[in-house]
């Protein structure tokens, strides 16, 4: 009797799950992981013989599995609570923060970044050139812990040695863990005004205006939150304004044509990644014109996403600030969009992007 029950229950479970998987509507995007989900690959003699159909189907079946987000959460809870693992898929929780283990310095990547910066500097820069590295929050989170951590001092030292053509501005000592979102990799704009002022000062300009803090009502769940797949308290999304920032003229060039926009994109604030509200997120070239600038100075910032939130603060000290993200445009086309005439340049990159620098072209 017992064996009959085991057999019947197993069969029922197997077939019910299988039928659900077969007939479940296809999802196109995973909100929690912030990535498109695999669709059923095209069936053809070629795709079957090459094996690409099978490879695609395996990804499709996994991505589209019914209740996948719930199951991911269960897996994370089982791995960390039952098996007592200290991380789940390299994500860990410490001191109220979610973070990702990333402990290796990828020197060839750093060298690639340095040579790319050198090429750009030699070809384009006419004014002074500055370089600053935004440390990952692990720099402050994993120092005295069991978690593997990168040697950030060695990281910065390596980059400094490889970029003698730029003036390095160290901001590591200005930051601490509270300056970063708890569920995201980025820093909080409201906590980095002193960093912006420090950088501006080092580059020969001053930021004197006070700011008004505004808060987005919607809870902010950062990129790590969905990846962790465990319940976690949301962050608050705060942004800073004042008369100068409110009067910025911002032009986005991601389509090739200049499109006017806002410093803070409220549509994006209601979208999948709220951090994209800062200068609209992934944009190849953004120009901020400041009609209230006290000086005639111009700045070109070569940057990643960390600069999206600090650039509006720094831009107060310049008449024109151009932001270039080399992950979304080829450096060879730079001259078509960026006017370097006499501008200073700031290379502002996070450790994580420098450590995977081939994403920059």
């Amino acid at each position: 009797m017992k064996n009959k029950i085991v057999t019947i229950v197993f069969a029922v479970v197997l077939f019910m799950v299988s039928l659900t998987a077969f007939f479940k509507p296809v999802d196109s995007y995973s909100e929690s992981e912030r990535r498109p989900l695999e669709k059923l690959p095209d069936v053809s003699a070629e795709s079957i013989l090459s094996g690409s159909f099978m490879a695609g189907f395996e990804k499709y079946a996994t991505d589209q599995f019914p209740g996948r987000d719930f199951l991911r959460g269960c897996k994370a809870a089982f791995a960390t609570n039952v098996l007592q693992k200290k991380d789940n898929n390299a994500l860990f929780v410490k001191d109220g923060h979610i973070s990702k283990i990333d402990s290796n310095i990828n020197e060839p990547m750093l060298d690639y970044a340095a040579s790319l910066f050198e090429r750009l500097t030699k070809k384009h820069a006419e004014g002074k050139v500055y370089f600053s590295i935004v440390p990952d929050k692990n720099c402050y989170l994993t120092k005295e812990s069991i978690y593997p951590s990168m040697d950030y001092e060695a990281f910065i030292e390596h980059m400094k040695q490889k970029t003698p053509f730029m003036e390095y501005v160290d901001i590591t000592h200005l930051l601490d863990l509270d300056d970063y979102y708890t569920t995201d990799t980025h820093w909080k704009q409201e906590n980095i005004t002193h960093v912006a002022a420090f950088l501006a000062n080092k580059m020969g300009t001053d930021l004197t205006k006070d700011y008004t803090q505004k808060e987005i009502e919607r809870a902010f769940y950062g990129v790590y939150h969905g990846q962790l797949a465990l319940p976690f308290k949301a962050d608050k999304m705060v942004y800073l304004t004042n008369d100068v920032i409110d009067n910025f003229n911002v032009t986005y060039y991601s389509t090739g044509e200049g499109v006017k926009g806002d410093v803070y994109n409220m549509k994006k604030a209601q979208g999948r990644d709220m951090y994209e509200m800062f200068l609209s997120g992934s944009e190849s070239v953004v120009v901020i014109e400041n009609p209230n600038a006290e000086k005639d100075k111009e700045l070109v910032i070569f940057r990643d996403s960390y600069a999206s939130s600090i650039a509006p603060l720094i831009a107060q000290g310049y008449k024109k600030t151009t932001l270039v993200d080399l992950r979304y445009m080829q450096s060879a086309f730079l001259e078509s969009y960026v006017d370097f005439g006499g501008a200073d340049a700031l290379f502002l990159y996070s450790t994580s992007v420098l450590n995977t620098a081939t994403s920059m072209k």
Partner: protein, 465 residues
């Protein structure tokens, strides 16, 4: 297709089960053949033709060997079968190894063939050879149905990773096998336990081994942690896969022989190999060692026999020198045990276990490497070569993070749980165990599904063989 995958569990398996159990008795082998070919083609669409050719050639050779039984022609047809099967194996698995070594010795630059290895070729080659050799020796009757022989060779539960099921062991079941709720339920239990061993334990340990390989912060203890982790990973990976194969076999009415019997509790390397990958060990014993004369030869010849078998065992696992060294390492230990200290080992109560575990750890470190240079680097690291620190931060983190999984794996690699379960079954607790069994199986299936849906790390070590 891996058993431990969503497509297998929730797409392939339900369909094959429906078709198999709805098919009339006379068509069950045909259903298995068709689905097994589809299973194989899923991973290797091109090589399904090689598989079909292997079946046809060996089917014909089997018939001809039987027809000319006792005559010289019979030997010729056996030779053709062996040359074809081993030739295919040599070409697809070892050609580049031979070319690379030829280039190294001669200084020439013969171009490598870069042939993709047909999945499971090492396993099904040995299976098909067991058929033609046994027919030649009249140990088993010839199979007149190409469908039944095809079903045997391609049988998906054991096609890609064994156990190496001999034709003689399933010959009767290919003709007639019975299905019952008892047998199917046994198969389900075994399959889910194997799946859990593979997905929950082996894959977790695999993550740790990968973290070790990627780490820039290695230390002596981290090398040892890797050695322990990899040894446990390969045991849970391979024995889990064998459990799944045996379980699926039971569901479809077959009784495959056991492949693992708690090898880490062995008191000697001789015993270890009686407990580890038993189907491979017994294949080499019966089809290589004994035909060469086995033990009943002079001392020198015995050495030759032993080292031939262990050279081949290592080489079977992979076309790299580290696999050959791995095999010969066991050859040396087995020879030493046979002629020198084997008898004394039994008297050393705890030391014999330490000796076995130490030797096995060393062997799997050699095995884990992708070449001999890497193997030497790992071994050097374990003994502090290269001024490595004793402890590093990455070691501490991984030792803490995986402590529970390693402890679970160590306990699971001994018969403690099984013995406890059997003891409790004889007490009043048996009622509780009976009630709990199904929920536990369902929870395990749920957890495994959660791991697979997460798309977690899911390699399979024996896939490359």
């Amino acid at each position: 297709m891996l058993f431990s995958s969503i497509p297998f569990l929730y797409y392939f398996l339900p369909i094959v089960l429906i078709c198999y159990f709805l098919a009339p008795k006379c068509l069950k082998n045909a259903v298995l053949l068709v689905f097994s070919l589809a299973f194989y083609a899923w991973g290797e669409p091109r090589y399904v033709f090689l598989m079909a050719l292997t079946i046809i050639v060996n089917y014909l050779m089997g018939l001809l060997i039987d027809k000319y039984q006792g005559k010289r022609l019979s030997k010729l047809f056996l030779l053709i079968s062996c040359v074809f099967s081993l030739g295919s194996l040599a070409y697809f698995k070892y050609a580049d190894f031979f070319i690379a070594n030829f280039n190294r010795v001669t200084g020439l630059n013969v171009k490598l063939l870069n042939i993709a290895l047909p999945i499971g070729i090492s396993f099904y080659t040995f299976q098909i050879l067991s058929y033609t050799i046994d027919v030649y020796h009249r140990n088993t009757p010839v199979q007149k149905s190409i469908v039944a022989l095809g079903a045997y060779v391609t049988l998906f539960p054991q096609l890609i990773a064994g156990p190496i099921v001999r034709y003689s062991d399933v010959e009767r079941e290919l003709r007639e096998r019975y299905h019952s709720f008892d047998k199917v339920a046994d198969g389900i239990r075994r399959f889910i336990i194997g799946l859990s061993k593979k997905v929950i334990i082996a894959n977790s340990l695999g993550e740790m081994c990968d973290a070790f390989k990627l780490s820039d912060d290695k230390s002596v203890l981290f090398y040892w942690l890797f050695a322990v982790g990899f040894s446990l990973q390969i045991y849970f990976d391979f024995s889990g896969y064998s459990d799944m194969a045996i379980g699926l076999g039971k569901i479809f009415g077959f009784n495959f022989l056991e492949n693992f019997n708690y090898p880490f509790i062995s008191k000697s390397i001789t015993e270890f190999w009686r407990r580890w990958h038993m189907s491979l060990g017994s294949w080499f014993r019966d089809y290589v060692y004994i035909p060469m004369g086995g033990n009943r030869v002079g001392k020198l010849r015995l050495f030759v026999n032993i080292f031939t078998v262990w050279f081949l065992t290592g080489f079977w696992h992979g076309a790299e020198w580290n696999f050959i060294v791995w095999g010969l390492f066991f050859g040396v230990l087995l020879t030493l045990e046979k002629f020198f200290y084997g008898k004394h080992l039994a008297k050393l109560k705890v030391l014999n276990h330490i000796y076995v575990l130490f030797a096995v750890l060393i062997s799997f470190v050699i095995f884990s490497a992708s070449n001999m240079g890497e193997a030497m680097e790992y071994l050097g690291g374990m003994f502090g070569y290269g001024n490595l620190p004793l402890v590093s931060k990455d070691f501490i983190y991984n030792a803490i993070s995986y402590a529970f999984i390693i402890a679970l794996a160590i306990i699971g690699s001994t018969p403690i749980v099984k013995d406890l379960y059997n003891k409790l079954k004889e007490t009043k607790c048996s009622v509780v165990l009976n009630v709990l069994e199904l929920p536990v199986l369902l929870i395990l299936l749920f957890v495994v599904t959660a791991y697979l849906a997460d798309g977690s790390f899911n390699p399979f070590l024996y896939f490359r063989f």
